[in-house]
Symmetry: D2
Subunit: 336 residues, 4 copies
């Protein structure tokens, strides 16, 4: 951390800042310049609050050099997550998680699950708890949905992914193979900490206006609890463009690889908001180097209880999987 | 709602859409055109899912005419919230809520509270539960903080505002006069519903990338539970500008007045991220017609355990209050 | 176009609106409803000004159904641009345009041009006129640069792409094979019209905060002048993320294909702002279905007079081209 | 400028960077650290290209400490602009520029000009050259419009503001008192330089997605040509919110005052896109400390040839001016 300090400051004025530094047991050096001085801090800076230091009148600027997400950026950590024998990560096969937005009933989930499995999905995704913008919209089957999900999981022998929206439901998620934290809950730190303790893989979606740093800090919350099984999931950020719902931020795919070992997957369904864009974006995601995809599939989109417009039908999914495999091979990777 | 439909569609194909419409007991008219047809739906449309209708191949566009936040937009509702005799709303005196970002200890809160009360703040604001981007930052005194807050509230005879971040803490908030839902929790619907049931005034901050419609839908969640004491609070939206933390969206002040009777207040401290900008923005907020301000004040910003840089000192607060009063009078309103 | 009109409006009040409609010789129908009426306009709506119609007190909303970029959306038009025998478009081979950001001198351009040609670039791109944020930065070699570009073009027998920034330089661009309109000039309509008249292919970059509609309207300006040789180029839009310069909006690749026959290419260099991200984004661009790439290549990036950080070196370019070919084949396309 | 450098770099590798530094005749110091080294540069840094320096493999980060807009940030410069005796600036009376979006004919301009003068506008604003998103929209009366503007200016003895969109029209603007550079041309550097040479006051609008730094760099282009009569004008930035056209960035009002002596005015008409929001935003602009307003006024908005919806009628303008005066007095300023 570099603290840029006005010239002509005397030692007395500096004292409270130096005291602050000393409480954190840091190495520091004071570097005089002609236009400004620099106080350089090295060591464990996670406890140092930039906003506090900026509050001193004589501080012109505070510059962080190392990221605050220490555990997330630890490249010595293993680079894959093992879910019931399926590895997700940098040097592993690309995985696809597919299924309906919402669990509507046993038949629907079994039918769609059977198809996505048949066409190559590694995981069945389906929501029981649905955070919806309108209180009048279908909010998910809740506990009953989780029961259906478990039944279909066992019948299809297919691991499942589902979103949790509240601490109160934690016990129900013990048999869910990957627990999803949705974009709206990315900074619901109570939920992050509680879910972390289940010690299961967590799929952490990026908030739709969260910076990469904020996202990785949320991952840090989970890892700090002792659970390093975090799968990052980009799902699009808000933009000014009215023709798409969200803008998928592809740069994060190579960026995350540079900053961390954590696997990164992408959700093209929510981002585009339209089934016609899903295939094109999915192939791009694979070419960009992501470790997986999470895709909404529904066989009767106009009967779907949520997100019909962005779901693709099973035959389109089959065709997408065929093409995805070819693109994966083109960049030297396999599909699960 | 208008559904734009491709020409040359036959009745059979339309049937599933018409069936969908019939289940919701709506008035409808089918209007033939030369380039496209229109299906117009009137009645209670809150249950109609645009994304489901958009999934039909022959649907070109779905256009909502009336907003989905029915209760929020009800202009027959009373236009103020009564908190212990202090009225907040359109035709009432402008209220200021002030205090430190975090409760640090009894002395600090008492000291700052005494000062902001002296200079005219109607409410003491102070956080016990702090959602922080970094797991290494100070997270608030939690229950202990709430106890301190209650003690200071009684000693100063000053109503208090504090943020809740989890359902699990609900019981502790029974003596908090206005319960704040922070920007990160604006779409934490479980929390909204649970807090609504306390039947106390709720200060609902706008998410930093939430549309006005999403914000009002979150207010609708609360009112739908039978609690119409919602105070909307704009706190800045994310922008591309690196010199400010957030961009205060002033347009929402007159917009909210057009769309709803709910009071609208503004938080210039979080938006600007810098104490030097707070006064200028605060005066503008009042001139724009907002019903109140929520401002961070700290007497020792460089000792603050959070958000030091954006807190103003009590003497600046005093001066701001003087000017605010003059601006309020200029537009024909009083300050509490 | 649909004009939503308040109920209980009488015919007299409507008259000025109906007169306005009549001046444009449109078909119209007035559709009564219970909550609002609709005035539907069909025909050539390009002359109808939404903002004028919205100014009537009784107009609640104006909704455009068909886009205003009539010529751009004409799908009967040919779907490729022919540049000296190289076809750019939907069903053609993918083209790569590569070269240095700025022309620095003859040797530099010849050297880099020779290499990018060797590794498969179809076009040499290089700037003579450089719009720079700072007046103190290198602004390009201007006329001298264009002369060098022509010389290298002839020696390498390689068509060239270069940016024009002012009407005054138009005569110098007669031998430039594709004339680039930069993002900052996307809405410099005088320039668009003047360049259109040269009747040469135009590479039209999207403004960094322009909507797809605004972008296509700028293309419409060019086509309206009788020149339909427009190549659209996405180069990233502004976002709140500080770790990347711009966010490439991949959704526009399939979107543009839906809305128009015009070729769409992508510039991953400006978008990412960092050479390490260029390869990953380039492969994604191809997989998403774009018709080409424009990439900055420099053999001595730290000697470059502009944009060093985002240029890749020739050996990285060679490796990128190898991989790009494989991805192109995977989706059933060839590289030029 | 601080250049953060990887440890374990040897002197040979550093040489090209040090050479680069030497060519610019800068003071520098090399500061060893434990985790990274720092190369500090002081002196005239305007010629140093960050992107070039960032291209060295061993450079981790380049941090600018002082802004590049040297002339703009010179606080010794006078702090007002004198237009025919009317002073615009920090300690001067607040000025209002008002009038129709477009000049439509002599009668319209005379009529509206007479009214806005009567109600207190200091300047008449009206456009002859209109950059329009659609090639089918009214593009302004051009030269004829400028002639009408001059005639009305003389008859009303009222200085005028009008937008220039092309170098080719420069001669026509010699009698325009303040020449406006529109948001779309903020980075049309050729135009900036050409207009600067007329040595007349220039109203420089902020691009709708331009950072404050980019905006001030555009002002620097003008001042570098020897013309320091630049009036900055905020007109709203693009946001994700569909209910408003642009979001006025109020933070820039106090920010610009901190960074520069240049006057700052605000355009609430374009920002809001709706006449109903104009008054509220205008009062806020004054309270925030801006030096002026530019407002669209039209007596027959539904006959306006452009921007009808965002124009206010003269009676609303009169009422706005009354209130504006009161708010100005409340913050201790006068209105012209």
């Amino acid at each position: 951390m570099l603290i840029i300090i006005k010239k002509e400051i005397n030692e007395n004025e500096l004292q409270p800042l130096l005291n602050e530094v000393k409480t954190h047991d840091l190495k520091y050096a004071y570097l005089n310049g002609e236009e400004y001085d620099i106080l350089r801090l090295e060591g464990n800076l996670t406890k140092v609050d930039e906003k506090k230091i900026s509050a001193f009148d004589f501080v012109l600027q505070v510059i962080k050099i190392s990221p605050s997400y220490q555990k997330v950026s630890n490249k010595d950590e293993q680079s894959f997550i093992n879910v019931n024998g399926i590895k997700i990560g940098r040097n592993e096969s690309i995985v696809v998680m597919a299924g309906p937005c919402s669990i509507e009933n046993y038949d629907q989930l079994k039918r769609i699950g059977t198809q996505v499995k048949h066409f190559g999905a590694a995981f069945l995704r389906a929501g029981a708890y649905k955070p919806r913008t309108s209180p009048y919209s279908f909010q998910g089957l809740k506990s009953e949905g989780i029961s259906i999900l478990k039944r279909v999981k066992e019948e299809l022998k297919m691991p499942v992914v589902s979103e949790i929206t509240s601490i109160l439901a934690i016990d129900e998620f013990k048999d869910v193979d990957i627990i999803q934290i949705g974009a709206r809950n990315m900074q619901n730190y109570k939920l992050l900490k509680a879910v972390a303790k289940l010690n299961k893989p967590i799929l952490l979606k990026r908030g739709f206006a969260s910076t990469v740093e904020e996202w990785l800090m949320s991952a840090e919350y989970i890892i700090k609890e002792g659970n390093n099984q975090v799968i990052l999931c980009e799902r699009g950020v808000r933009s000014f463009e009215p023709l798409t719902r969200f803008s998928l931020d592809f740069s994060v795919i190579p960026l995350i690889k540079k900053l961390s070992n954590l696997p990164i997957i992408v959700d093209p369904s929510h981002a585009s908001g339209h089934f016609e864009l899903v295939e094109s974006l999915s192939l791009a995601v694979i070419a960009a180097g992501a470790d997986g995809l999470i895709i909404e599939v529904h066989d009767k989109p106009f009967e779907a209880l949520s997100d019909g417009i962005q779901s693709i039908k099973p035959d389109r999914f089959a065709s997408l999987m065929e093409k995805a495999k070819k693109v994966a091979h083109a960049i030297g990777r396999d599909m699960f």
